[in-house]
């Protein structure tokens, strides 16, 4: 019997959604209920967790702070990565292979021990407790990721496309924006989402480099886990809410990732 192709993604999505359902249902329960009984859906349905988040400034400011530095970082990372990836993809220059690999090495160190030096560095340049600090610090791992992924996609585009465009009279800028970028749209979509995602979930540096003014949602959530014991309901509600911005981002780039753009004819 031939299994229909859609069965595979359907089963996978169901597998993904089960724990998420669990998370969402926890967000509508009290911590007592979560730890006390097993229930498929909230026995004592409560909005208290969400109310706390929407009314307590530390919580909702946390969201805004996080969105700020994540947004800055994503735009910054993708913008500088595009020309660099183009250079790696089309040109040979002194040290290019080593530079390329070096970029990736910046993702190879466990962050724990580096937190203190980072704190010292950003304090020294006077950026402590600003969203810019986190946005810049996250460049450490997001830019290499962006460069590597974009380079991978750019290498799939034959150089003849560039040359045909020049013969047709395009300047480099026009060629890059109107022809090249649509061709690697899938890569750009994926990179934007990944930069957003990795910056959004990064906890250690975000906590280390901020204290009050720029405190991100990450810090508030870890506080929940340690100080007041385990406020699971609150944590679950916060967790549920953190999914939403990222869902927007991937929705935004969905046409880039799927076969929205065909290989453009020059």
């Amino acid at each position: 019997m031939k299994t229909p192709k859609w069965l595979v993604p359907t089963l996978y999505i169901l597998f993904l959604l089960l724990p998420i359902y669990w998370l969402v249902s926890m967000s509508f329960k009290t911590t007592n209920e979560i730890l006390g009984t097993f229930s498929l859906w909230p026995q004592e349905f409560t909005l208290a967790n969400y109310i706390t988040i929407f009314t307590d400034p530390t919580w909702y400011n946390g969201y805004f702070n996080s969105l700020t530095y994540v947004g800055m970082n994503t735009l910054l990372s993708v913008s500088v990565a595009l020309p660099a990836a183009y250079a790696f993809s089309r040109y040979r220059f002194l040290g290019d292979k080593h530079l390329f690999f070096w970029l990736l090495t910046n993702r190879m160190a466990p962050p724990a021990v580096f937190a203190l030096p980072f704190f010292q560095l950003y304090s020294a340049v006077g950026l402590f407790d600003t969203p810019i600090a986190v946005a810049l610090a996250h460049c450490l791992f997001n830019i290499p990721l962006a460069v590597w992924i974009l380079e991978g996609f750019m290498s799939g585009v034959p150089k003849e496309l560039d040359e045909t465009a020049y013969v047709d009279g395009y300047s480099f800028g026009r060629f890059f924006i109107r022809i090249f970028i649509p061709t690697i749209a899938a890569g750009i979509g994926v990179v934007m989402f990944f930069c957003f995602m990795f910056s959004w979930v990064e906890l250690l540096l975000a906590k280390t480099l901020t204290s009050v003014a720029a405190k991100p949602i990450a810090a508030t959530m870890t506080r929940t886990a340690s100080t007041a014991g385990y406020e699971l309901g609150l944590l679950a509600a916060a967790g549920t809410l953190t999914i939403i911005p990222g869902a927007f981002v991937i929705w935004f780039v969905r046409n880039h990732i799927a076969k929205g753009f065909a290989l453009g004819r020059v």
Partner: protein
Amino acid sequence: MIDKTVNQRAWFLVLPVVVLVAFNALIPLMTVVNYSVQETFGNNVFFFEGVKWFEQILNSERFHASLLRQLSFTGIILLIEIPLGVAIALSMPKKGPWVSVCLVLMALPLLIPWNVVGAMWNIFALPDIGLLGRMINGMGFDYNFTQQPLAAWFTTVLMDVWHWTSLVVLLAYAGLSSIPDAYYQAARIDGASAWSVFRFIQLPKMKRVLTIAVLLRFMDSFMIYTEPFVLTGGGPGNTTTFLSIDLVKIALGQFDLGPAAAMSLIYFLIILVLSWIFYTLMMRNEEQ
């Protein structure tokens, strides 16, 4: 393959990237190297100790044990997540309304902060109050991840697969989308079977993207800390104490940053070497 032209001016295109990354990389790195070769007894007084910490770490049984655990864990999840991710990407629709739905739903696990992932799976997998725990016990297995090493490993692996496979799917899917239609058309005209299309068109064209997926998953799983720590705390006992968890224990437990710094550098070098091997192996056909 792209025939690259030599052009030293390309450095200007790369310069912003280098500046931004190096700013964040070099100074902290130097600081850590500094710590790794010193010992302090407090009051900001440091004594140069050379390679003492490195030797200590490399010779410790504890280090060997967590390294082994780490290698096993990473090996297992790579063997599951890469093929699974590719298979799912291949079976996803290429266009139409369901594509957007699929992409959004698949992205959800990636967006949850890692401590929440650990916490939700912790409850989810508990044998008495968690859905998964009850399901498995209900099927007749004796399952309690807080007490049984095997169950703990199973849960940790399952959690990681749940959390990260979508990364592979997204990368693979984007890679597949970039293959121009003409290749599929030519294959149809040539009378190629679905397997041939996969073997001769899809897989080769996805190679770079898959390399990135493998490297990313390798590095991130090798450094994994928050999720398993919140899920099992490294236990029961130390059966799920992976390398990062061990490292933090050492860093917190000691007054001195020396051993932790040294271990970080060793850690880094291991990942570096293994990544380089992976990278070279996967890209070996490119240079001719």
